[in-house]
């Protein structure tokens, strides 16, 4: 069974009297262990698609199955449960709690899950170790570099051992070198068995993934497998 399966999903916004279709019938299938990039120009609907896949929103039409569960019909709190346990988000702007330490930021999903204090400490430290930030765990975001902040965000995404890591332009606010480090981190996480979806508009970033979904005007335009040659050429092979 596919981890993610969408069947002809539509997302329509009412802008006054005008209907705007952000997605016009998207059907995709993503399996466990996949490393996918979603590419498209701005306004193509890729953010909308990401929000739907990430269970932050529900489609106006069509069906969405996550792990066999019909997400498209779920209530807000059921979606919250899926986001908490099954999905780890990494955002372009990091989206960390500014006043909380790195430790507390990473711990937060565990708190909402209701994990016990001792378990939280152990899991949080393990996640911070995975992104090599265990020595920075008492620092607040403003005491960390951009790359470090994004690694804290990755640790937070990892901490509940989710089925899917969903990264929205994770390198968008980073310089090239730091961006490459973050992408190498994702490649490593993928090699360890994680399912990863990256949303980006940069081909260089997208080639870290094994497969690229091109989206334009709310439709999947092309579904392309990244060749080994291109990975080598771009230096995106692990």
């Amino acid at each position: 069974m596919a981890l993610i399966e969408t069947r002809d999903i539509w997302k329509t916004y009412e802008m006054g009297t005008v209907q705007v279709h952000a997605l016009r019938g998207v059907s995709i299938e993503i399996n466990r262990g996949d490393y996918i990039a979603i590419m498209g120009p701005s306004g193509s609907g890729k953010s909308t698609l990401m929000n739907l896949i990430g269970c932050l929103d529900t489609p106006s039409q069509g069906e969405y199955y996550f792990n066999g569960n019909r997400v498209s019909e779920m209530e807000e709190d059921e979606l919250a449960k899926i986001r908490n346990k099954e999905i780890g988000f990494v955002f372009q702007t990091f989206n960390l709690m500014p006043r909380a330490t790195a430790f507390h930021n990473v711990e937060l999903p565990l708190i909402y899950k209701g994990t016990s204090r001792d378990d939280r400490k152990e899991k949080t430290e393990r996640a911070l170790k995975a992104v090599d930030l265990i020595d920075r765990m008492t620092h607040r975001p403003n005491e960390l570099s951009g790359g470090q902040r994004q690694r804290v965000a990755v640790a937070r995404a990892l901490v509940n051992e989710p089925s899917l890591i969903l990264a929205d332009e994770p390198t968008g606010n980073l310089d090239t070198k730091t961006g490459q480090e973050i992408m190498q981190l994702f490649s490593r996480l993928h090699s360890e068995g994680n399912t990863i979806i990256i949303v980006t508009h940069e081909r260089d970033v997208a080639t870290y993934a094994d497969r690229i979904l091109f989206i334009r005007d709310g439709r999947i335009e092309k579904d392309e497998v990244v060749s080994e040659q291109e990975k080598v050429a771009n230096g995106t092979k692990l």
């Binding site: 449960k81 986001r83 989206n95 709690m97």
Partner: protein, 406 residues
């Protein structure tokens, strides 16, 4: 577990905006302080009056010329009444089956003196010997005067502890002399200390026999009070009716006219006082509640600002799995910490201020538990009421919109 963690987050959020939180607190503090101060002062006042009236005891009542008067018109009407006469005492003793003790009594104010020490404005109560069984004056030392001493107009005095302490420091006053309004008396006994209450010192008193009093101060006329003790608490209404009939007959009151005298019980006095203070209470509590409502509105306003400011934070929390309930609880906690925190501080200040107020008026008072409880209930009520809307607004934010909020 999770609620405790969310509680900690709420505390941290408030700490991060320390000045704002303190200012918000201030609104509730002022509101609760004013309510608590007023309630505890009023409670203290009520308690003091009650303890002041306790000496009358539940089975005792007093017949007087004036009675309890609630308006100016009644007062001037009552002034025209004939005074009570001493003969009524005997008439009541004979005619009232349910009256066990009857005592004529009157009070004058004067100076008492022993050698070079003196005390001014002392109530000098001229009462018949049976008064001791009617009011709750208790013997501490020596003895009370006898009916014979009363009838033979002996100059003997029974004094309160304040008189003893002021006039006879370090001396046993029994057997000593005392000059009451210029006339020399012998002290035969001392009453047990009652302690000050309601701005008056009940131990600053001198009892002398009624007939001796009349001889020295003249007939009390309008100030004659007849103290009556009924056979039991249940029989007070019967005894009062009997006394009423006797007094009306002796005073020739036509059957279609109202009593031209008054009957006073502790309950009646209390009821009259409560009647007077009820509007005062309502008014004062009403006015101070306005401050509380303002405090609540300040909380609501600040919480609204806070929700808007932290829209993105709410979005992040939701994206990592916070349910609506978790967000709602966090914001409710914040409102409750503010309102209850302000409430507790307000109760502290209020009780303290109430005590000072009461102290200024020289009352005896215990901090009222009901005021404290009320303060907690009111402030948590304010927090819940004014906090729920902003918290619901926060909980219902859509994750996608909240995350993209700039």
């Amino acid at each position: 577990m999770i609620f405790w963690e969310i509680f900690k987050m709420a505390g941290q959020a408030l700490k991060a905006n320390r000045l704002r939180s303190l200012l918000t607190l201030l609104g509730v503090i002022i509101g609760v302080t004013s309510v608590i101060t007023i309630i505890s002062a009023l409670d203290g006042l009520g308690q003091s009056i009650e303890s002041e009236l306790e000496f009358l005891g539940p089975s005792t009542f007093i017949a007087t010329k004036m009675g309890i008067i609630m308006s100016d018109d009644d007062f001037f009407e009552a002034l025209k009444r004939k005074p009570l006469k001493y003969e009524y005492v005997e008439a009541i003793e004979e005619g009232c089956d349910e009256c066990v003790k009857v005592a004529a009594s009157s009070t004058a104010y004067g100076e008492v003196k022993y050698r070079n020490r003196k005390l001014r404005d002392v109530p000098i109560r001229g009462s018949e010997a049976s008064i001791l069984d009617i009011i709750d004056a208790e013997l501490d030392q020596g003895r009370f005067y006898t009916p014979d001493e009363d009838l033979s107009r002996r100059r003997v005095a029974f004094i309160g502890t304040t008189v003893r302490d002021e006039l006879y420091p370090g001396v046993d006053p029994i057997g000593k002399s005392i000059k009451i309004a210029g006339v020399k008396y012998d002290i035969i006994g001392i009453a047990k200390k009652k302690g000050a209450s309601f701005g008056e010192d009940p131990d600053k008193i001198v009892y002398i026999p009624y007939h001796t009093f009349v001889k020295q101060f003249g007939h009390p006329r309008g100030r004659l009070a007849i103290f009556i003790k009924a056979s039991s608490v249940e029989n007070v209404p019967v005894a009062m009716d009997q006394v009423r009939v006797i007094l009306r007959a002796h005073r020739h009151v036509p059957y279609d006219k109202d009593d031209d005298f008054g009957m006073v019980t502790a309950d009646a006095v209390m009821a009259a006082l409560n009647d007077i203070t009820r509007f005062l209470r309502l008014g004062l509590v009403g006015v101070s509640s306005i401050a509380l409502i303002v405090g609540g509105i300040i909380i609501m306003n600040i919480m609204m600002v806070s929700v808007t400011e932290r829209t993105r934070e709410i979005g992040i929390r939701k994206s990592i799995g916070a349910r609506q309930k978790d967000i709602l609880i966090q914001f409710m906690y914040e409102a409750l910490i503010l309102s209850l925190g302000g409430g507790f501080i307000g109760i502290g200040i209020g009780v303290f201020l109430g005590k000072i107020l009461i102290g200024l008026m020289n009352f005896n008072m215990t901090p009222s538990m009901s005021a404290i409880l009320l303060g907690i209930i009111i402030s948590s009520g304010v927090g819940l009421f004014f906090g729920i809307y902003p918290a619901m607004k926060a909980a219902r934010l859509q994750p996608v919109k909240a995350l993209s909020y700039e």
